[in-house]
Amino acid sequence: MTYDAPRLLACGDTAFTIEFGERIEAPCSARVLALDAALAARALPGIRETVPTYRSLTVHLDPLLAVPAELGRLVLALAGEPLAAVATPRLWRVPVVYGGAFGIDLEAVAAHHGLAPEAVIERHSAPEYRVAMIGFLPGYAYLEGLDPGLALSRRPSPRPVTPAGTISIGGAQALVASIAAPSGWHLLGRTPERTFVPERDPVFLLRPGDRVRFVPTPAARWDALAAAAEAGEPVAELCQG
């Protein structure tokens, strides 16, 4: 649930967190992003970086320029005000090859929910998601908006390696993974798009607040799309407005 009033949480002398709720919910995420935007517009002295997550905004500060308790109270007051919702003009249409070697858990997820694999693909690609948080590893985009009918707790034991571009679900969360890493989530598919390329401008394709739609793509197109992505061409389509 989203709290009636946001809470100020201590994170040592270099940060504090403003927490809006304890669950993954669209209104909570929207308030986090609204506060993030409001702080960016105000440029308060001493703030170094802000990190929006599903339910909170962490503010990193320079302890030479700001005192966490004072700056925290100021930001908490701002968080309690009715803030304008952030306009999110950026919508990404991200190609995903589902199932088979690309999404080795698709069939198991379908069986668990008593659905056909095609129905899981349909339900996973139907919503318009929002990037609520980028974290854990560089470019790992955590989405809000998963169909509750697909929610499924994590695997009992994580896999030591899952490939770059993995599209997965864990609990009520949906994820676009950037680089190869261990994961205990359920792998539904893969995108050839590269969401994190250090030598590219922008380095990170997705930003907190961006909207995302998954476009089911035939496996036969993987090689061509992967080659295009390798050559630096975008394979996700950016739609504004």
Binding site: D13, T14, S178
Partner: protein
Amino acid sequence: MSAHLRLARLAGAASIQDGGRHGYLRYGLSASGPMDPLAFAAANRLVGNPADAAALEFGLAGARLRAESGAVRLALAGAPSGMRLDGEPVAAHRSLVLPDGAELTIERPREGVFAYLAVSGGFAVRSVMGSRALHQRAALGGLDGRALREGDRLPLTASPTGGTDVCLDPVPLQRTAPIRVVLGPQDDLFSETGLATFLHETFTVSNRADRMGYQLDGPAIAHGPGGFNIVSDATVAGSVQVPGSGRPIVLLADRQTTGGYPKIATVISADLRRIAQRRPGEPVRFEAIDLATATRLAREEAARIAALGAQLKPVESETERLMAANLAGAAVDALGTED
């Protein structure tokens, strides 16, 4: 042949670090940078560099470096390590010139974990996203996005001999003093017993300790009735997260930027280097302090780093002092004691 230093031998962990890659936390990338910022800054100041120039970080490592392309001015600071220049003992915490063709042997530290080797002008690896610091999980920065290996050729700037022979008093490692924390952000998710365990028991650094974080062994810290799964939120350097096992993990320079375990407390920024310098098996006790004190200590630590430049002394006076005392060995042995 462009200027470089050869890492002829390496046993242990080593990477190139600088002041860190800042501004990308919201994209999931932690800053990296030195595990002991004060020792790192000292090594750089000794060779006339800005405090945040790219230098080598050794983690419980021994190494041999060879000047292959001309003389190089360098200095070692941090965890006390024996050093020899072509077999002759030389002191750390002083700047010296490694002549062309000469070899510098750095022994595994006697105490502590991290030692820093700075060269005049810094290491000339490519800057990636504004920093030369290695972030190993992301394969970013450092030498080709990886940790250093035996045989590596470490690129230097064109004139790596700038500066003069100077020395600094070594920084004590404080290997037994309590690590100071500010409780929160999720201390309310722990039982009273759990909080008491955290604040009154002694933990030890486990073998699962690296630049991402140190897992501690010791009594399990009990969570409250709400359990130990939270919706992931952001971490900071020093976050003490407690997973279901009850064994705390202190998150450090290369940490994951978000996590789903409750964080009982945050190590104050001034004490990050003090926990970083503790080895597996060494004790860790925590002491809760208030935020105002933590801010004062952060400012004192920044002042300590800023003052290094003014504390540089000519090497002659240091040599005379050691000669007069005739206790060079004893002075070296005292490096690890409490201040």
